[in-house]
Amino acid sequence: MALEVNQIVGGYSQIPVLHKVSFTVKPGELVGLIGLNGAGKSTTINHVIGLLRPFSGSITLNGIKIDQDPAEYKRQIAYVPEAPVLYNELTLREHLELTMTAYGLAPEQTWPRAHQLLKTFRLDNKLDWFPADFSKGMKQKVMICCAFMTNAKLLIVDEPFYGLDPLAVHDLLNLIEERKQAGTAVLMSTHVLDTAQKYCDRFVLLANGRVRAHGTLDELRAEADQPNESLDDIYLRLARNDDDE
């Protein structure tokens, strides 16, 4: 098991946003974290990447908890945030260099992969540009390049489809597929449900900080007793039911 989230209760201040959230992501598996705005997707991710500490419950990554060995825990994670976060003072090339230094990657072996990624996202001629010169979509691509360049065992991708052009979305999905084949666990949050339905192996449906359902599409359908429903329908019904409660 790569990532095991076990009964976490957590949030930003004293008030819990997440209530006993549990799920797992296995190596070579793409798990979709699905939910409306404010359902707790980003909060969950913030706990997994160690930005927030859970009030109770535990998060284990290949047997390591963040408190046991923070450096080793973090080395296993690569993260593509929802809104691109870059250093204003660094060029694209320097962002890649910094990521290599931080993750202790050997430049000779990593640069070829980096160049390949840059080429895929049509950034290979912009190595000396500063973030101020990039559009939002380009910044997002820089984040993707930095994350996919590492050997992380867990990739966390937060709402990747905004601001990316259709070609880039396609390329990103291909990359995720490639990494999955290589045994990387991938956790992706999104509310673009038809894409999620096509690509994710399993789903964790969040609403109001609780896991409302999880499993493969067939399992979700069986649970809802609607064998032909799409993920979209299943989720909408769940969300509406929640509102009525």
């Binding site: 923070p70 993260y79 945030p81 250093y87 204003n88 660094l90 931080a102 202790g104």
Partner: protein, 400 residues
């Protein structure tokens, strides 16, 4: 509209108050008091050496009274969203701007009076002035300032905003003419010129309908410089700092970077390229060099050297937190201890360079080697103490 302005003024005051409180909490202020004290002391020592036969004193006065009106700008407190939300209120904006104008005049005239008061002892030593002359000089300076603000007011009107060169010209040339008349002819002539110019401006520039773009830009620029001032003392979120590549300094970046240390890599690049922080350090170092070059009273010189090394070091320390908002700095598999160590290295290297430059300048025009050597010893000890101990306590405060 007038209530809108007073509302905004109150809010603006609260913001300023918040920042002023932080400013007066800082050690930096103690250092500034010392600096001002040293300047005042130097000024009082300098005055008795002057007499009325020096050719340059009048020109210095003209320069002073030309620069003085440049201080204190037109505060309209307009916001970026105003052109959208207040668009139908173009007519009512004149009333709003009248309030803003009065408010700005009040503040700016206080600065003018203070600046004039500083120059008067000098003028009284080098010129023969009666009490009436003194009053006329003060009134003239105030009129020149009012004139300057009116130039600003008309420069944000639709009719005149396009002629930027004209406003820029008037900002400098009007005060210059007034000051020249005051000091080269007599204070009465200066007053007369000031009155004529003030009335003339009012006659020429009428129909001052607001130019939204120019007005908002002027206010954003003004607020930016206000925030930049506060940024000297504390972190102001809206002052992000511009970035310049500075390829010619890549040797410095390389020298500051420790290979294989991500934090060191980040801090070195950030320091050299961030216009805000490197500019601040460079400016303070240059001022420090000038002061220690010219002030040759030996005890005072050593105090000033100590002071400036301290100033630069304390101004650099908040840079430690520059990247705290970036989630990736929390994600990198690197410990906080590494961050502290790497920043300490950067701090040590930069303060050492700056210390050497200031100590070298303290040789002064008298090339006093033994005094310079003393400063060097004191400087080395100070840098060691600042980097080793003072930084440690600051970090504890910041990491809390």
């Amino acid at each position: 509209m007038s209530s809108l302005f007073s509302q905004r003024r109150q809010k603006h005051f609260m913001t300023l108050l918040k920042y002023w409180r932080l400013v007066f909490n800082d050690h930096f202020v103690i250092a500034l008091f010392f600096l001002f004290g040293a300047l005042a002391y130097g000024y009082s020592q300098w005055l008795p050496q002057l007499n009325s036969h020096l050719w340059w004193t009048r020109w210095l006065l003209i320069l002073w009274f030309t620069i003085l009106p440049q201080l204190g700008r037109l505060a309209t407190l307009l916001k970026r969203a105003d052109p959208i939300f207040l668009l139908p209120q173009v007519k009512a904006m004149e009333n709003y701007l009248d309030h803003a104008y009065r408010y700005s005049v009040l503040l700016a005239e206080l600065i003018t009076i203070a600046g004039t008061a500083v120059a008067l002892p000098f003028a009284m030593t080098t010129e023969r002035l009666t009490n009436v002359d003194l009053i006329m000089i003060v009134i003239t300076a105030m009129l020149a300032k009012e004139n300057w603000l009116f130039t600003a007011r008309k420069s944000i009107s639709l009719r005149w905003s396009a002629q930027r060169w004209r406003s820029r010209f008037e900002y400098w040339v009007n005060p210059l003419i007034i000051a020249a008349a005051t000091w080269l002819i007599n204070p009465f002539a200066g007053l007369a010129v000031a009155i004529v110019l003030t009335l003339g401006m009012r006659l020429v520039y009428r129909h001052l309908t607001i130019d939204w773009r120019a007005a908002v830009k002027m206010e954003t620029d003004r607020m930016y410089s206000v925030y930049r001032f506060f940024n000297l003392f504390t972190d102001v979120p809206s002052v992000q700092g511009n970035v310049k590549r500075r390829q010619w300094l890549s040797w410095l970046v390389n020298w500051l970077t420790i290979a294989g240390h991500p934090w060191s890599y980040l801090y070195a690049h950030g320091f050299v390229r961030n216009v805000e922080i490197s500019g601040l350090v460079a400016r303070l170092t240059i001022v420090g060099m000038l002061v220690s070059f010219f002030v040759q009273v030996s005890w005072l010189n050593t105090i000033l050297v100590i002071l400036f090394i301290y100033l630069v070091a304390t101004q650099l320390m908040p840079f430690y937190e520059q990247y705290a908002d970036n989630v990736f700095t929390h994600l990198y598999p690197v410990s906080t201890e590494d961050q502290v160590t790497d920043f300490r290295q950067l701090l040590a290297k930069i303060t050492t360079i700056e210390m050497l430059l200031i100590v070298l300048a303290s040789l002064g025009y008298q090339t006093n080697w033994s005094h310079c050597a003393l400063n060097l010893v004191v400087g080395i000890i100070e840098v060691f103490l600042l980097v080793r101990f003072y930084f440690g306590t600051r970090i504890k405060k910041m990491n809390k």
